[in-house]
């Protein structure tokens, strides 16, 4: 490159360091390092970093990650989905209704639930692209509609709002373990045997490791992050996602099927919410009408901490995953460190504000706005 001879003399050379800073994941990376440093210094002895502790915050972070991946891609495509939390409650309840009340086999209940929820996602998207209304308001409506059904349906059919017995019903099912099972159990048994992780010393679980394996929830979270990241950065469709959120009209002019991209992203968000819900009901063995409350905001916060712009067109799945990790580590870490849990919300508000300010600054550096 003949940078030195031909370039505009009015443009200052930017240092490599500064250029390396200009990336969506920056906030998430800094935050992750800061959060881990903090808890390693102040809560190392609290049990947060032994095998159980690690598993504890990993599971919570993985939950956030699953919904953050969907919310991230949707936000980059320029839309919001506020119905994620209600969708989680609704999906869990559908599985209970189909699998327990109606007594269908669990695999069928899971598949039908996926179909219904993804269809609701498509409906959200369809309404948004056809009416041109802000997705904020359309999905706010869906939030109430789905939550209403989630309470109404079990009350009408079962006269209660929590339906249990799902774990028993899922016994021997081929699909349920993909959401509720654990992997690498042999490896963890071995680690317990050789003393890398602690084992139970009493009771009927004596000799078994305290952490018996990696829950499928974490596998789903990592798989969705990898899938989302590759989709966004390495495929043609990823370019369309950026384009649809960056400037929908400009994208349409160049032949990007913007409406299709947006509807598909709404469907993907619904899919992620359903994955979350199925993992949750398989773990708890029950479905409750109040499950997933406020999850939509937690997903959005993780995404914003991860460096995505609320206005769309910019962001990163890796960033969102780091945002979810920060979220999970802090939430559980404060518990381990015996800090009053209400302070978590204070922390959340502060970090959200910082993230948004940092993002705005990065965006200015990218576009050269002043």
């Amino acid at each position: 490159m003949s940078d030195a001879t031909n370039s505009d003399e009015r443009i200052k050379q930017t240092s490599r360091f500064r250029q390396a800073l200009i990336r969506p994941e920056l906030g998430g990376m800094v935050g992750t390092v800061a959060v881990f440093t903090f808890f390693l210094l102040f809560a190392f002895d609290s049990g947060m970093f032994n095998s159980q502790g690690v598993m504890n915050w990993s599971v919570v972070s993985a939950q956030f990650m699953i919904i953050a991946v969907g919310a991230c891609l949707l936000m980059i495509a320029g839309e919001f989905d506020l119905s994620v939390g209600s969708m989680i409650g609704f999906a869990g309840m559908m599985i209970a209704i189909f699998g327990i009340t109606l007594g269908w086999p669990m695999w069928m209940a899971i598949i039908i639930t996926f179909v219904i929820c993804v269809a609701f996602g498509a409906l959200n998207g369809y309404i948004v692209v056809r009416t041109g209304l802000p997705s904020f308001i359309v999905t706010l409506a869906t939030l109430f509609i789905l939550r209403g059904f989630t309470i109404f349906i079990p009350q009408t059919l079962e006269r209660k709002t929590i339906i249990g017995g799902i774990r028993e019903a899922a016994e021997g099912d081929w699909l349920a373990p993909i959401f509720g099972g654990k992997v690498l159990t042999g490896f963890f048994q071995w680690m317990g045997d050789v003393g890398i992780i602690s084992v139970f010393t009493r009771g009927n679980l004596e000799g078994q490791p305290v952490v018996s394996g990696i829950p499928m929830l974490i596998v789903w979270a990592l798989a969705l992050v990898v899938f989302g990241h590759i989709l966004l950065t390495r495929t043609r469709f990823g370019n369309w996602i950026f384009a649809a959120g960056g400037d929908a009209q400009a994208a349409r002019y160049t032949g990007v099927p913007v409406d299709r991209v947006k509807i598909l992203m709404f469907m993907f968000t619904a899919f992620c919410a359903t994955v979350f819900a199925v993992c949750q009901v398989m773990e708890f063995g029950s479905a409750g009408a109040d499950r997933g409350l406020l999850k939509e905001f937690e997903a959005i916060i993780a995404v914003v901490i991860g460096g995505a712009l609320l206005t769309g067109g910019y962001g990163s799945v890796i960033g969102a995953a780091l945002g979810a990790l920060i979220f999970g580590v802090v939430q559980q870490g404060l518990f381990f460190a015996n800090v009053e849990s209400s302070l978590f919300r204070v922390f959340l508000g502060v970090i959200l504000l910082f993230a948004v300010i940092l993002n705005t600054y990065i965006r200015r550096m990218i576009t050269g706005e002043r």
């Binding site: 370019n239 950026f242 712009l309 576009t367 050269g368 706005e369």
Partner: protein
């Protein structure tokens, strides 16, 4: 004279009760820069949107390379080889030049049976195409937001030409630019024309039109005043036609011919 690459005959376009185009007939030839002049509201934008498949004409025919065409959407027109560079450029400031360049036409390569965005190819092509147009990028991942208006215009034109445009429609490419950037864009237009592409140059600036135009068509209130070739018409006459004639004559007197 060569055959026209695109011929628009008696194009009419109504939006509800508003008649935006009331029968416009124009021909465009390859290797020529055809300037479409008109004041605001003359129907320039509606006309080019009809040509590029955004609007369907209410009446009239579009012939492209001798065959009648019915474009269902902009994609059809782009596939046929009619590319439009809009005023707002269809560029996304937050995305890199390379991602913008290939937006909607992403190169793909197969890895293990799945198709991925071929970033390497995209970056190489972007850098070399930009170099040809005289723009030095810091790198293909530089965001479009950091480019100047003229540079963005040039990227948009280079993109259209790279993807095989036979007809290049430029919607007021110089209206928001400074003197030097305008000169750059006009030079680009000249370069593109010499490659045998039909350039449709929409403007309301007679001077810019005279600088590159081979043919001039004036639109006024949804109608055309006919087409003149270079040398057949003076800038003053064009100016008068755009304004609808008489009124400007008196204005011009008081402004000293500076409009």
């Amino acid at each position: 004279m060569s055959d026209p690459i695109i011929r628009m005959t008696n194009i009419e376009k109504h939006f509800g009760s508003v008649i935006a185009l009331a029968g416009v007939t124009v021909e465009f030839h390859p290797g020529e820069c055809h300037c479409l002049l008109g004041d605001n509201g003359a129907g320039k934008s509606t006309f080019i949107k009809t040509m590029s498949g955004v609007h369907k004409p209410t009446a009239g025919t579009i012939e492209f390379e001798g065959a009648e065409m019915n474009f269902a959407d902009p994609r059809d027109a782009i596939t046929a080889g009619i590319a439009t560079v809009y005023q707002d450029l269809a560029m996304i400031p937050l995305m890199s030049v390379s991602r913008n360049f290939f937006m909607g036409n992403e190169p793909r390569k197969k890895v293990a049976g799945m198709s991925f965005f071929d970033h390497e190819h995209a970056n190489d092509v972007t850098m070399s195409e930009m170099k040809k147009m005289g723009i030095n990028l810091r790198g293909p991942d530089q965001a479009v937001g950091t480019l100047s208006g003229g540079e963005r215009q040039t990227v948009a034109i280079a993109r259209a030409v790279h993807f095989g445009a036979k007809v290049l429609i430029l919607d007021e490419p110089t209206s928001a630019l400074g003197v030097r950037q305008t000169a750059n864009v006009l030079a680009t237009v000249d370069r593109v024309r010499k490659q045998g592409i039909a350039v449709v140059f929409i403007t309301h600036n007679v001077r810019h039109a005279m600088a590159v135009g081979d043919r001039f068509t004036v639109l006024n209130r949804g109608k055309t005043y006919g087409t003149a070739s270079r040398g057949e018409i003076t800038p003053e006459a064009l100016q008068d036609m755009m304004a609808g004639g008489e009124e400007l004559a008196t204005l011009e007197g008081s402004l000293g011919g500076t409009v």
